[in-house]
């Protein structure tokens, strides 16, 4: 059984009196431990799908099944409890954290909210999380705005894995990083996936990175699925018009792929 099954998802927005479907009749599924890439040009609805899957916004139509539950039927405290299993890493690691927060607080929140560790145990857990994402333990006392972008994205990953989720949505999570840092973060994500069997919904416009890390791909065009299948197969010989255009526009696909893998 799939970990996440999305069917016929539709989300409309009002733009200047006109209703536009940002996401139209989209269906896909992710298996445990699998990486599904969501690709497409800017404005094709990738972030909208991420927000729908995380229940940050509500769909106009469609179903979301997560770990066998009707995810859209959950509300209030039941929904908040289930959120432990489904996490997200945002594109801009600076915007994703409270500007007043320290590293310790950012990692303490999920442990406290989901009752994962007692107050006395939590500093120890925070240290463990920092080690797991390859950061020095003494980073805990630093303010979020003081550390580097790459470190911040590692903190975001540490926060996402704190509640032992089965699925993490990564919305352009490596796009804002330098190429060298990007490689290290991808490495970390792959390592976590191998060790903890976490599934990723990997949103990116970078086909080189997708080819290196994703098992399957869903190509979006203007809110609809244009093409889907094995990531390498689709990227190596795209069938849809948008797939061909994206591959043609991707700079030095092979080199990027080697950098990332």
């Amino acid at each position: 059984m799939s970990l996440l099954a999305v069917s016929n998802l539709t989300r409309r927005y009002n733009r200047g009196g006109e209703t536009v479907a940002a996401v139209h009749d989209v269906s896909f599924a992710i298996d445990p431990g699998e990486t599904l890439a969501l690709a497409g040009p800017s404005g094709s609805g990738k972030s909208t799908i991420a927000r729908l899957v995380l229940r940050l916004i509500e769909p106009d139509a469609g179903r979301i099944e997560f770990e066998g539950n009707d995810f859209l039927a959950l509300a209030g405290s039941a929904l908040r409890a289930h959120r432990a299993r489904l996490q997200m890493v945002f594109q801009d690691p600076l915007a994703a954290f409270n500007p007043r927060a320290t590293v310790a607080r950012v990692l303490d929140d999920p442990l406290r909210i989901h009752g994962i560790a007692s107050r006395t145990e939590r500093p120890h857990r925070i240290a463990e999380l920092l080690e797991r994402v390859g950061l020095p333990v003494d980073l805990a006392s630093r303010a979020i705005h003081e550390i580097s972008g790459g470190q911040r994205q590692r903190i975001a990953i540490a926060r996402a894995i704190a509640t032992k989720p089965s699925l993490i949505v990564l919305d352009e999570a490596v796009s804002a990083l330098d190429v060298s840092v990007r490689g290290q973060i991808l490495e970390l994500l792959l390592d976590l996936q191998r060790k903890q069997r976490i599934a990723y919904l990997f949103i990116s416009h970078d086909l080189g990175v997708i080819r290196a890390v994703a098992h399957r791909i869903v190509l979006l065009d203007a809110g609809r699925i244009a093409e889907s299948g094995n990531a390498r197969a689709v990227i190596d010989s795209p069938q849809s018009a948008i797939g061909k255009a994206l591959v043609a526009a991707a700079p030095r696909l092979d080199r990027t792929m080697q950098d990332a893998s």
Binding site: R51, L56, A81, Q87, A96, P99, I113, T163
Partner: protein
Amino acid sequence: MSALHRFLRRPEAVAGALILAALFAMAVSAGLLFPGDPQSIAGPALLPPFQDWSLPLGTDRLGRDVLTELFHGARTSLAVGLAAAAAALAVGAVIGTLAGFTGGLTDEVLMRITDAFQTVPSFLLALAFVSVVGPSLGVVVVAIALGTWTGPARVARAEVLSIRERDYVANARVIGMHPLAIAFREVLPNALPPVLALSSVIVAAAILTEAALSFLGLADPNRVTWGGMIAEGRTVLRTAPFLSIVPGIALVLTVLGVYLAGEGIVETTAVRRGLS
């Protein structure tokens, strides 16, 4: 350059800070320098200032020491002004945050209530409240706060409307934080700077309102107030104008000091935010 440095380079801000410091010193030292009941008789009635150096600012109609009253009045002005402003800012920030963060019906209801309070002139509201409940220090504080929380509420709501769309608020929801915790731990502290920027105006207005209420006799009868002193002096305005002029000057200087120092702080911290 530090914010303090920039503050010190503005003469008007420094002047404001000095006035405020003097006022604080007066309020704090009132009990030490002039112990006992400030309203007790200290000498002959209507002694003009600078005649007797044990009563440097003279005495009022009943022979009470004007300098003692001035010091104790500083206490009342400052206490009421700060408490009322703090209450107005706190209530406004909480209501504005709830309205902006929750949206929908809650927002609608809270903003209609805010409108209702804003429609009534705040001085009339304070006047009516004190008249009905009776004058005491706490009641005067509440009465003034009642008419001033709407400004902070509007500013807080506007700020919250923009903050609630930020990624870190979405991130807090993703980790399962309770909506009230998101509103008050994640959103409100970040919405505070523009709300706090209103404090100098609000403190100054609160001090003036307090003076006006006590001028009309709506003050705690057991406390000396500058407004009350001015009202008392009015009855002998021709023969002893200093009785109204002295507390009047103190009031004007205080309001000016609060305003200048407050603006200085806002300007220097705004510059820092603009640069970073």
